[in-house]
């Protein structure tokens, strides 16, 4: 299975717009959105009146881990749970702050009155949608929920199964921001990572960390330098850094209003201005597939 993960470190570099462009071009594929914390790709893939067939989005609950539940009738206010919880999830006056509960079970274990029990935790939902780009697997982590890494793993597992069912060999994944647990869950054993960056001091700093992460997990990576013309000197610095650090540059795009305009219309940029953008994205796919 050839899985292409699009990530960018911090965000704001045009990652999801680029993923949408890739989704609308290239080989037949399954599309996955692993930015389960703040998913956006469905805003393009499933906008109003853009080929959504009713009944084709199936929602599935996502359960993971546990959560503490307190029975106030049994609680004697001894305060042991408050004292022992390492996550500040129980206040001094013995109220549970569910957003901070790690689900470790310490409180249930130490409570002498048996007033706390651990319950299965509904952390969010994942979806399978039919879109004009192909089947898309996406998810929504509940507000202030844990276990984003496991939800990412679920999205990836389902994407893999779907691709196999459909006899497809390519999965395109929009990845989460940062370098922490959801990114690590997205990255492990992925065929290739496309790093979307822009010529700014912050983005260069983020890129260096994300490259280190891809190397740590031995995933081949390539750079897409977006908005390359907003700061020519910094763009040169970035190209030089890539050359020095053996990071291939898979493509470069200049700054354009087109991405925002396409987004406002709920379109991929290749649908908004096909003449200008389709060839560039087809070229990008070609470059990437040659390396996958």
């Amino acid at each position: 299975m050839r899985e292409l993960l699009v990530i960018s470190g911090k965000g704001g570099t045009g990652k999801t717009s680029i993923t949408a462009g890739l989704a609308a071009t290239g080989p037949a594929k399954v599309v996955a959105d692993c930015d389960v914390d703040a998913a956006d790709l469905h805003l393009i893939a499933l906008p109003q009146a853009q080929g959504v067939v009713p009944g084709t989005t199936q929602a599935h609950p996502f359960h993971s881990g546990q959560r503490a539940v307190l029975d106030p009738d049994q609680c004697t206010q001894c305060g042991i749970c408050h004292e022992k919880c390492h996550f500040n999830a129980i206040t001094e006056d013995i109220r549970l702050r569910p957003e901070y509960c790690e689900g470790c079970g310490m409180c249930a274990y130490v409570c002498p009155a048996g007033a706390i029990r651990m319950q299965e935790r509904l952390c969010g939902q994942w979806f399978r949608s039919e879109t004009r780009f192909g089947t898309m697997i996406h998810a929504a982590l509940g507000i202030a929920e844990e276990n984003s890494g496991k939800l990412v793993t679920t999205v990836r597992t389902v994407s893999g199964d779907t691709a196999r069912e459909q006899g497809l060999d390519v999965i395109l994944t929009d990845g989460p921001p940062g370098i922490g647990c959801p990114v690590i869950a997205s990255l492990t054993n992925t065929r290739m990572a496309l790093l979307v960056s822009e010529p700014t001091r912050s983005a260069l700093h983020d890129l260096q960390r994300i490259v280190e992460l891809t190397r740590h997990f031995r995933v081949p990576a390539a750079l897409l330098l977006n908005k390359a013309d907003i700061h020519p000197a910094l763009a040169d610095e970035m190209r030089a850094w890539c050359a020095e650090n053996n990071l291939p540059v898979a493509g470069e795009f200049g700054w354009t209003e087109d991405f925002t305009q396409a987004q406002l219309l709920g379109l991929a940029v290749t649908e908004y201005r096909p003449d200008a953008w389709k060839p560039r994205f087809e070229q990008l796919w070609e470059t990437l597939l040659a390396r996958m």
Binding site: A38, A39, P47, V53, P54, Y100, M106, F127, G178, T200
Partner: protein, 385 residues
């Protein structure tokens, strides 16, 4: 006073806002500490040239099992109790530190006292100061001006070790370090601390700005915990609106007051404005979209140094914010001083918390996932109509 700066989506300009607001406040005579809570991608230091006072490695607790004291296969209580599979039995107890959440349950549960707390390195914490140059003294309002030195700005930054999955322990470590810093001891040389002490007007309280990571899950929740106010930064695009809605829901879940800054105002359309108006959420500022501003940020420069209109925009933002936060405090006091003030108080808290008190959705049903599903539903209906 702790002010968190957050957004559902990355790249909306949280860090830009944090560093510029920090600089503005510092120049206006407030002792300011900027805490860069985005430990996965810390960037705030790139905008300053901080003088690093110290760098410390940050640790997270993990268990250390003393196999000579371990009872062995008949017990295995730690293995059964650990919800994160960080301990397994393979002829002896084996530890998987990367999976450990540091909850301490295994140590609590071990009947033989064979498990003690050890630590592993999860990243670094750095403390530095930035001496804001006095050159721009004209931007300082007269009542706060101090001719010779402007006060130093403290920068507390965490950096997650690459490959490390869990950032919340490192964020908690940042707050732990912050607590340890004496309010006026800038952590540098005694002489400099002395100078700063003189130059900081005492009537101004310390302001802590927290530059939060993007998203709505544990790292953000940890970063925003206990903040007096949260500024949500967004941009006027469909992605911006969608992610703002998630961030608003997060703040409502946490029951913390917030307002919104619309960044790159003018780049997209009106949907963010319309939604905020409908929800009665205060807009603290609209920062105009400009190519010039983008270039200044790209270089890692401060907007308020380079562009006079930005200086004004940040001054206005702070004025509005300060007004809201002080109002909020009066409200809290009024609430505790009895019945008479309570009508006024609740009227105020309506505006402060925006929709929190008057248009608060049913939190149980209006979860992100439910709304996501509803949006998909309405999309398909619209198509069918």
């Amino acid at each position: 006073m702790h002010i968190a700066i957050a957004s559902g989506k990355g790249g909306t300009g949280k860090t830009t806002l944090s560093v510029n607001l920090a600089a503005h406040l510092s120049r206006s005579g407030f002792p300011v500490t900027l805490v860069d809570c985005d430990v996965e991608e810390p960037n705030a230091h790139l905008f300053f040239q901080p003088q690093w006072a110290w760098t410390r490695t940050a640790h997270a607790p993990v268990p250390a099992v003393d196999s000579s004291r371990c009872i062995g296969e008949t017990c295995r209580i730690c293995v059964t109790e650990c919800r994160f599979k960080a301990l397994i039995w393979m002829g002896e107890i084996m530890e998987f530190p990367e999976l450990c959440h540091g909850c301490g349950l295994c140590m609590e549960a071990c009947p033989a006292g064979a498990i003690t707390e050890s630590t592993r390195v999860i990243g670094t914490v750095q403390m530095g100061t930035v001496q804001m140059d006095a050159v721009r003294a004209e931007s300082i309002s007269p009542q706060n001006s101090h001719t010779a030195d402007t006060p130093a700005l403290r920068l507390l930054t965490g950096s997650l070790r690459v490959g490390e999955a869990m950032s919340p322990p490192l964020i908690r470590e940042l707050f732990g370090q912050l607590e340890q810093l004496d309010q006026l001891d800038m952590g540098v040389h005694a002489g400099q601390a002395e100078r700063i002490r003189v130059s900081v007007p005492r009537r101004n309280e310390e302001i802590v700005l927290r530059d939060c990571p993007p998203g709505t899950s544990c790292p953000v929740i940890t970063s925003m915990d206990g903040a007096d106010y949260t500024i949500l930064v967004t941009e006027p695009t469909p992605f911006g609106l969608h992610d703002l809605q998630l961030a608003v829901e997060t703040l409502r879940t946490l029951k913390q007051p917030f307002g919104v800054v619309i960044n790159r105002s003018g780049m997209g359309d009106n949907r963010v404005d319309e939604w905020l108006a409908a929800q009665a959420i205060p807009v603290l500022a609209r920062i105009p979209h400009s190519q010039q501003a983008a270039t200044v940020c790209a270089e890692g420069q401060l907007l308020i140094n380079a562009l006079p209109q930005m200086r004004d925009a940040y001054a206005a933002l702070w004025e509005r914010l300060h007004q809201i936060v002080t109002q909020g405090r009066n409200t809290t006091e009024a609430e505790t001083t009895g019945e008479a003030a309570s009508a006024k108080a609740s009227a105020l808290s309506t505006t402060i918390h925006g929709v929190k008190t008057n248009a608060r959705p049913d939190t149980e049903t209006d979860t992100k996932a439910a709304r996501h599903a509803a949006a998909l539903q309405s999309a398909s209906e619209a198509h069918h109509a």
